[in-house]
């Protein structure tokens, strides 16, 4: 099976890498300077950053199983936090990467795990020519 570091996998790893860096930076600043203001959303930001780091690492080291888990957890996260932030916006005065289903980031946090899951699952359980699909 083609490595996760080629084709679309490489693009995904790049996007996840950017999000990992940006989410880590943002949540570090939040946790270090404003922890008392809104601890739960900032911890969620930190969790999101961690998941992005794991996803990036897994895609770069061809660990499709771990990548699949990370991306699935991420999707659950963005859907759950997105829904909660719409239902109870007062809990999220300062946006986290997953609030509003990632609307602060052009909904990329929502689309990214969906694309990732589809790609990883097709790769895993693909048809007769799975590798040809991403060349």
């Amino acid at each position: 099976m083609a490595s996760t570091t080629t084709g679309l996998g490489r693009v995904l790893a790049f996007v996840y890498g950017i999000f990992a860096i940006s989410a880590t930076g943002r949540s570090s600043v939040q946790l270090l300077t404003k922890f008392d203001e809104a601890p739960i959303p900032y911890l969620l930001s930190g969790l999101a950053a961690l998941i992005y780091i794991v996803a990036t690492w897994a895609l770069l080291t061809d660990r499709a199983g771990i990548a699949l888990v990370a991306v699935a957890v991420e999707l659950v996260g963005v859907l759950a936090i997105g829904a909660d932030s719409v239902w109870r916006p007062e809990r999220y005065d300062d946006a986290t990467v997953w609030s509003g289903f990632g609307d602060g980031y052009g909904y990329v946090p929502l689309v990214l795990p969906i694309v990732g899951l589809i790609w990883l699952l097709r790769r895993q359980f693909g048809s007769a020519a799975p590798a040809a699909a991403d060349r």
Binding site: R10, F14, G17, V29
Partner: protein
């Protein structure tokens, strides 16, 4: 106005470059020396923009602008293309061009945000 003329120019250039890279991907053609030169010039512009952006709070009123955010976004615009290059150098196919596209297409978004950060002071 939040956007300087240089930022406006870079916005147009990066949107055009994104459209071009998308076209290359659809045609399954690798970026040639002309494309690479264009990206290099865009990168030069972004570095100049970064320096100008660092100087800006000293020559214009920047009250209420979050400096870490302002500088953070500026630095990001200037490192995306080099990072994209490093990531794509081993992948002389659509995947590699895709990485460059992601890097380049993110830049206009960041430039617009920079303009907003400056004007809205938020």
């Amino acid at each position: 106005m939040g956007l300087t003329w240089l930022m406006g120019l870079l916005l147009i250039a990066t949107v055009a470059a994104s459209a071009w890279l998308l076209w290359l991907i659809l045609r399954d053609v690798s970026p040639g020396p002309g494309t690479e030169k264009a990206l290099l010039w865009i990168e030069v512009g972004l570095v100049v923009n970064l320096v100008a952006g660092v100087i800006r709070p000293f020559v214009q009123d920047a009250e209420g602008v979050s400096m870490p955010t302002w500088i953070g976004y500026l630095v990001t615009t200037a490192v995306l293309i080099p990072l994209g290059y490093i990531w794509s150098v081993k992948e002389r196919n659509r995947g590699g061009t895709g990485v460059l596209l992601v890097a380049v297409v993110t830049i206009p978004v960041l430039l617009v945000r920079l303009g907003q950060i400056w004007t809205l002071r938020g």
